[in-house]
Symmetry: C2
Subunit: 372 residues, 2 copies
C-alpha cells in the first residue's frame, strides 16, 4: 500500500492513478476514508457541492461525507433518489437536472456520487450534460462500483431496448473507495460485485485469478485487508486499460467480458430482477463456453472459471427466458458493428479478444448451459 | 475563396478548417453543395447514415442530400421531427433514440443534421450520447445555423428554466453550408440569422462590421456572393476562437455577446415566440448599452451597433415581459459562476470581455431601453 503524498501519517489509503493527461485522477482505496477530509484534499475548493445518493445509502453515509466535504465547499446540498436499477432512466435524470437548477448550480458546482453503480452512472451522466459538463467525484459504496463502474468515466442511463445505450465518457475528478461501506452491503450485492472482480482475473490477469481462488472465502467473510487488495488490484488493472484506450476503440472492450450475454439477460428478465453482477457471472460462464466451442480455450479453463463463479455464489445458468429472446436482445449490443455482433472471447492464459461468433454456436452454448 | 484540395475544378466551395487535433474538421461554404457527392468526400464510408431533419426542411432537401450521400453509405434512413424550438426537449431527443435503436444503429452509424439550429443542436446531442458518442455531420439550412450553431461542437437541448442547459461538446465530422438553401428561408429567419453575423463584427472583427454596414442590403437581397462571404468570414472568426478554446473556459465566451439578455428574453416570452436571432439582436443592443453605462465603450459605438441592428430589421427593445422576470431568468445563465452573474461586454474597437455587472445597472439599462 502506498501512503498518499500529501499526509503519509494520517490517511491510510492505496492510491491508484488513472493517467489521462489533463483528465487524470486518483482512486483512493482504503478503510475509514468517507469521514476523512484529507481523502477529498485533491478537490479544488468551490462554492457548492451536491451529493447525489439514494434512499438506502444516503441515511448511512451522507452526513459523514458532508462533514468531510466541509473544508472544500461552502455549501453542500443533497439529492436523494429512489433505489434500484430502474432509476437509470430519463425521468430520474431529469429530476436531477431540476434539482440542480432549483439549487442554482453552475459550472463550478461539483457533484458527489454517493452510492452504487446506478447512482454513479446517472450522476456521472448528469455531470457530463449539465451545462455541457461539470466536475464530479465518485464515492462508490458497493463492491461492484468500487472495482468497476466508478473508474474509467463511462456514464449512462438505460433504454428499454438496452442497458447503458445513452451516455457519455466523462471522467471523475476523484474516486474514493472505502471498503468499510461494504459491511452494510446486502450479501447478494457483495456477491454480485465479486463477478466483476473475477472478470479481471479471467480476462486480464491470471495471477490475480489464482489469488482470488485462494482468498475467495476471506472476501466473502469481509476481511478488510483482502477487500482492499481485491479492490486495489481491480482498479489498477482497469486504470491501465482505460489509460491506453479511454473511449473503448480497442483494448478496453476486454473489460466487457461476459457483458454481451449479461446485458441480454438483464433486459430479458426485466431490469433489476437479476443484479448486473449476477448476469455478468452467468455471462462469463457462457462467454467462456463460447470461447471453448470456438477452439480458443480448453474445456478445463472454462470449467475452472465456472467453478470459482459457482463458489462465489453467482448463477451459472441463464434465467428462464427463451434463447431466441436472449439472442435477439444481444443484437442491440453496443459492440455490434455494421450489423455484426461481436463477443469478448477468452484466448490463451490471460488474454481476451473482441471477435464475431456464429449465431448458431451462440444458440448452442445457451442450450447446452441449460441441460448441463 | 480557396477551391478544395480534392477536386478543384468540380466543387466550388470555400473551405474553413476548424483545428482541434484529432477532432479537426472542415466547414465547406458555397453554392450547390447539397447535391454534390464530392462535398461529402471527407466522410469515411460506412454501412448506415441517418438524416435527421424536420417536416419543413425535409421535403425541400432530404432527397437531394440522400442522393449525394449514396456514394458513402449503403443504407440511408430519415428521421423527421416536428418544426420549432419547442422540439429541443427530452421528449424529442428520446424519440430520436427510439428511432436509432429501431433502425439498429451502432457505433459506426453517422447522423446527418439537415436543418436549422434546432435540428443541428438536438442531432449533435443525440450523436454525443447515443452509445456514448457517434459521428455526425452538420448540413445547416438557415443563416443562423450556417454562421454559428453548426460550427464548434456545442450541442444541447433546453430546460424549462433555461436554454441549452443540458448538452455536450461534441464536434461534427464535417459541416456543409450551402447558401442556396437560404432562398427558401422565411425572411424573418434570414433576418434573425443576420444577428449572429453582426455579432462577429461587433465583438471580434471591426473590419467585418464595416463590411456588413456597406453590404447589408446585398445580404437582405440574398446576393449569393455576399452570402458566401458573410458565412465564410463568420465561420473563420468562429473557427479561430473555437480552436483556441474548445470548451469555453475563456475566450470562447465572447461569442455569447448579447446572449445573456437573449436567453432570458427567449425564456421570458416563452421559447419559440421570439426567434433566437431576434433575441440576440435585442440582447446585443442591451449588452452594448450596459458596456456604455460601465464606461467601457462610447455612446457613439453603442449607437452605431444599434443602427445596423435596426437596419437589419431586428428588434432593439425588449419584449413585454417585466424587467424583474428578465433579471431573474438571467441568474440561471450558464456563464454565472459561484452565484455571480457575468456578461460579455464590449471594450475597445473590436474586443469583448466576460465580466460581472452590477444588477442595478442591468435593471437601469432594461428600463432605459423601453423609454428610449
Amino acid at each position: 500500500m502506498n501512503p498518499p503524498a500529501t499526509d503519509p501519517e494520517a490517511l491510510r489509503a492505496c492510491r491508484v492513478s488513472v493517467s489521462l493527461a489533463e483528465r487524470s485522477y486518483d482512486v483512493l482505496v482504503g478503510k475509514g476514508l468517507l469521514d476523512d477530509a484529507r481523502a477529498f484534499a485533491a478537490l479544488r475548493p468551490a462554492a457548492h457541492a451536491v451529493i447525489i445518493t439514494n434512499e438506502v445509502v444516503g441515511p448511512l453515509f451522507a452526513e459523514r461525507v458532508m462533514h468531510a466535504l466541509r473544508s472544500r465547499f461552502s455549501r453542500i446540498s443533497t439529492v436523494t433518489l429512489a433505489d434500484g436499477e430502474v432509476q437509470k432512466r430519463w425521468q430520474t435524470l431529469n429530476d436531477i437536472f431540476d434539482s440542480l437548477i432549483a439549487e442554482h448550480c453552475d459550472r463550478n458546482t461539483t457533484l458527489i456520487a454517493l452510492g452504487g453503480g446506478v447512482v454513479g452512472d446517472i450522476t456521472g451522466f448528469a455531470a457530463a450534460c449539465y451545462m455541457r459538463g461539470i466536475d464530479y467525484v465518485q464515492v462508490p459504496t458497493t463492491l461492484l462500483a468500487q472495482v468497476d463502474s466508478s473508474v474509467g468515466g463511462k456514464t449512462a442511463i438505460n433504454h428499454p431496448a438496452g442497458k447503458n445505450m445513452i451516455g457519455a465518457f466523462h471522467q471523475p475528478r476523484l474516486v474514493i473507495a472505502d471498503v468499510d461501506t461494504l459491511s452494510t452491503l446486502p450479501r447478494r450485492e457483495l456477491i454480485a460485485g465479486l463477478a466483476e472482480v473475477i472478470k479481471y482475473g479471467a480476462a486480464v490477469d491470471a495471477a490475480f485469478l489464482g489469488w482470488l481462488e485462494d482468498n475467495l472465502s476471506r472476501l466473502l467473510a469481509l476481511d478488510g485487508d483482502a477487500l482492499v487488495y481485491a479492490v486495489r488490484r481491480s482498479c489498477e488493472l482497469k486504470a491501465g486499460i482505460v489509460a491506453a484506450d479511454e473511449r473503448e476503440s480497442g483494448r478496453r472492450a476486454v473489460l466487457n467480458f461476459g457483458h454481451t450475454f449479461a446485458h441480454a439477460i438483464e433486459a430479458g428478465v426485466g431490469y433489476g430482477r437479476w443484479l448486473h453482477g449476477e448476469a455478468v457471472g452467468c455471462g462469463m460462464v457462457l462467454a467462456s463456453r463460447l470461447s471453448e466451442r470456438m477452439g480458443l480455450i480448453s474445456s478445463e479453463r472454462a470449467s475452472r472459471l465456472q467453478i470459482i463463479i459457482e463458489r462465489a455464489g453467482l448463477p451459472t445458468r441463464p434465467p428462464d427466458v427463451d434463447d431466441a429472446t436472449i439472442v435477439r436482445l444481444m443484437r442491440a449490443d453496443k459492440k455490434s458493428l455494421d450489423g455484426k455482433q461481436r463477443f469478448v472471447l477468452l484466448e490463451g492464459a490471460d488474454d481476451a479478444v473482441l471477435a464475431p461468433a456464429p449465431e448458431d454456436l451462440v444458440e448452442r452454448v445457451l442450450r447446452d448451459s441449460r441441460s448441463s
